[in-house]
Symmetry: C3
Subunit: 133 residues, 3 copies
Amino acid sequence: MTMRVLTLVNAMHITASVYINDDEPGILADYEEWLEGLAPHAPVSQYLHNRTGEDNADAHLKRQVMGREVVIAATNSRLDFGTWEQIFHGEFDGRRRKRVLVEIVGSNGDQSYPGRHGLWHTKATVTEPPQGP
Amino acid sequence: MTMRVLTLVNAMHITASVYINDDEPGILADYEEWLEGLAPHAPVSQYLHNRTGEDNADAHLKRQVMGREVVIAATNSRLDFGTWEQIFHGEFDGRRRKRVLVEIVGSNGDQSYPGRHGLWHTKATVTEPPQGP
Amino acid sequence: MTMRVLTLVNAMHITASVYINDDEPGILADYEEWLEGLAPHAPVSQYLHNRTGEDNADAHLKRQVMGREVVIAATNSRLDFGTWEQIFHGEFDGRRRKRVLVEIVGSNGDQSYPGRHGLWHTKATVTEPPQGP
């Protein structure tokens, strides 16, 4: 029996991203520099959001470029990834401990016996140590 | 019994976005200014798309930065959001009345009795008043 | 009986995107020029990733702006699209043959007879000819 699912993985913080790309140190450093060019942290006074007393407006912008979530198909507990696809959690603020939500919806895929279908749903939250600045 | 779902919320227009971020007026104004820097509206002649007679090429670009859709887990009719997560509809053109599609797929999560699983699907479209200049 | 599904369409390569926008040649050319401005290909030495011997760091960045995947609701085998929504596969590197994953999860939506629900899942991978420079 083949188990087929969709997996949602999302950041639970609005200055963080979950994204899929290459697990290669150079490109990860390139992302940091590129994002800093698109949405510079300093001067912090350039952003209205920072009048609230925070200094992380740039992190809100960077997160939009990199995205909040990914949805991934999986077959028999194996993510249906291309050769180089890897999931990352990007944290652009670095203040608090961060959580990631993982939600799975799927079936046993036994299409001949609908009455025996086991639709299931699993949710997990993953807490990460803070990263950054 | 726990009801678990995935919720898709997407813009139905290609110059609009559905995204999740902070409901703070400063950051919303920061997004506008930042996007205008990344994809300026004027001069409208800088975009080939505007040769069609439209002047909204920049809105197509801005929408890609902010995204088309979000997928959100929910438990017992409550969105599984982090503390500050809020859904927004961003409209970068402002011409027509806009619609948003909301689709829900889920189960009652009673994993012990697969035969009694109630898979359900709900769709709604939400029409908003036009926003913008 | 109404068949309702969610459809996941994702790039399987980390220098490619699946996105939804307008099937208008001008805007497609505008995307290319705009992305080249946000993440220039040359000089290739500006990116650490290219020290690996590749020269496609810019393609990794462009793909993040345009996104990896889309999730689309569908009713009775028809995508629930707004008037101008069209799916695109964007390829920013152009080297290899590329694949796209299509995964569908849905039900027959007959909510009165949960035991007869036909949850189904379909996956397809689509191989495209290489595109690019």
